[in-house]
C-alpha cells in the first residue's frame, strides 16, 4: 500500500470528494491517463508515488475532477520526488496531451476559483 502521509487532511477530503462527484466517463479518463503515465514511468513504487503526487497537486490547486490528471503531470518537474525523471515526465506530458486531444478533453483545468 502507498503511504499517504504527505497529503494534508484538506487534500485527502478533496480527493475523496472529487472521486465521488465524477461521472463514470471521467473516472475512466483519469484511469487511462494515469495508466499511460505509468507505462512511461514504470509500474514501480516510484512510478506509483508520482501518480499520487500528481493527485496531490490537483487537490491543492482547486481542480474538481481527477480527469484533469494530464494537465498536472508537467508540474511534477518542480518537486524533489520526481528527481531524475525529467525526461520521462516530459514524454508522459506529450503522450497524455495526445490522449486528451483524441478524446476532446479540456486543455484547461476545471477549477473552483472561490
Amino acid at each position: 500500500m502507498v503511504e499517504l502521509d504527505f497529503i494534508d487532511d484538506n487534500g485527502k477530503t478533496r480527493i475523496i470528494g472529487m472521486w465521488k462527484g465524477m461521472s463514470e466517463a471521467d473516472k475512466a479518463h483519469f484511469i487511462n491517463q494515469a495508466a499511460l503515465a505509468l507505462s512511461i514511468w514504470g509500474d514501480t513504487e516510484k512510478g506509483r508515488r508520482l501518480i499520487v503526487e500528481t493527485i496531490r497537486l490537483m487537490a491543492g490547486n482547486g481542480t474538481n475532477t481527477l480527469a484533469d490528471f494530464g494537465l498536472y503531470v508537467e508540474k511534477l518537474n518542480g518537486i524533489k520526488e520526481a528527481g531524475g525523471m525529467s525526461d520521462k515526465i516530459k514524454r508522459a506530458v506529450v503522450i497524455i496531451e495526445g490522449y486528451r486531444v483524441k478524446n476532446g478533453l479540456s486543455s484547461e483545468p476545471h477549477r473552483e476559483l472561490f
Binding site: 499517504l4 485527502k12 475523496i16 483524441k102
Partner: protein
C-alpha cells in the same frame, strides 16, 4: 467521548482514502497492461503536434501583444507633477482594451484629478498600493 467521534471519523477517512487510492493504483496498473506500444506511438504523435501548435500560438500571441503595445496611442499620465502624493514620480501608460492594474490606477488617478479640479476635497478617494502582474 466528545472528541472521540471526530477522531474516529478522521481515521475512517484516512483508511477510506488509502484503500481508495490503492484501488485506483491497482486499476491503473491493470489498465496499463492493456496499452499497446502502437497506442502510445499514436498518442505521442498527436500530442507532439498539439503542443507544437500551442507553442506557435503562444509565440504569435506574444508578438501580437508587443505590436499592439508599440502601435497603440498611449494615454500617458505623469504623476511626477503631483508632488507629495502617493504616486509621486511614477509614470504610467494606459494600455487600451486591456484590463490591467495600470489602467485601473489611471482611472482612479483621473477620478482624483476631476475631484481636485472641482475643488472638492477627495476624502473618499484613496489610493491603494497596486502591484503589477
Amino acid at each position: 467521548m466528545a472528541t472521540a467521534a471526530p477522531q474516529k471519523k478522521k481515521r475512517e477517512e484516512e483508511t477510506d482514502l488509502r484503500v481508495t487510492i490503492n484501488q485506483w493504483l491497482e486499476m491503473i496498473s491493470e489498465s496499463r497492461k492493456g496499452i499497446a506500444a502502437a497506442d502510445i506511438g499514436k498518442f505521442e504523435a498527436i500530442g507532439k503536434k498539439s503542443l507544437e501548435g500551442k507553442e506557435k500560438q503562444q509565440v504569435a500571441a506574444a508578438e501580437e501583444t508587443k505590436k499592439r503595445q508599440e502601435s497603440a496611442p498611449a494615454s500617458r499620465l505623469d504623476m511626477s507633477t503631483k508632488p507629495g502624493r502617493a504616486l509621486n514620480r511614477i509614470v504610467v501608460e494606459r494600455r487600451p482594451g486591456e484590463e490591467t492594474y495600470v489602467n485601473r490606477m489611471i482611472d482612479l488617478a483621473e477620478q482624483f484629478e476631476l475631484a481636485a479640479q472641482e475643488q472638492r476635497k477627495p476624502k473618499d478617494v484613496k489610493f491603494r498600493k497596486f502591484v503589477e502582474g
